[in-house]
């Protein structure tokens, strides 16, 4: 089973991965802000 089954080169995989991680962290940051706002509105513990 060769490592490359998606037709991407290692360089392309690296580029995609860095963008994927950036956007994932951005998504998490928005989620953290949302949870902080909800906590200030009505804490759940």
């Amino acid at each position: 089973m060769s490592a490359n089954q998606t037709g991407l080169t290692s360089q392309e995989a690296r580029e995609f991965h860095s963008a994927f991680m950036t956007w994932t962290l951005a998504y998490i940051a928005v989620a953290v802000v949302a949870h902080v706002l909800v906590w200030n509105w009505r804490p759940w513990f």
């Binding site: 490592a3 998606t6 991407l8 991965h17 009505r42």
Partner: protein
């Protein structure tokens, strides 16, 4: 870590993640709406009790 994209096709993963996150977000928002405490539309709890406190009962009529 980036080698994962040599195995899983990025396009399919992105579509699946979008669908999954949408379903998850809808589910959680509706669960929140189904609770009394976190129903931001009905607004029960703090804001509602303030409104009801201001409506004082009528004094008894003299007739």
């Amino acid at each position: 870590m980036y080698r994962i994209w040599l195995i899983f096709d990025p396009r399919r993963i992105m579509i699946l993640m979008t669908l999954w996150l949408a379903v998850l977000a809808l589910t959680l928002h509706f669960i929140m709406l189904s609770t009394a405490k976190y129903n931001w539309i009905e607004g029960s709890g703090a804001s509602a009790s303030v409104a009801s406190a201001q409506m004082a009962p009528l004094p008894p009529s003299r007739s």
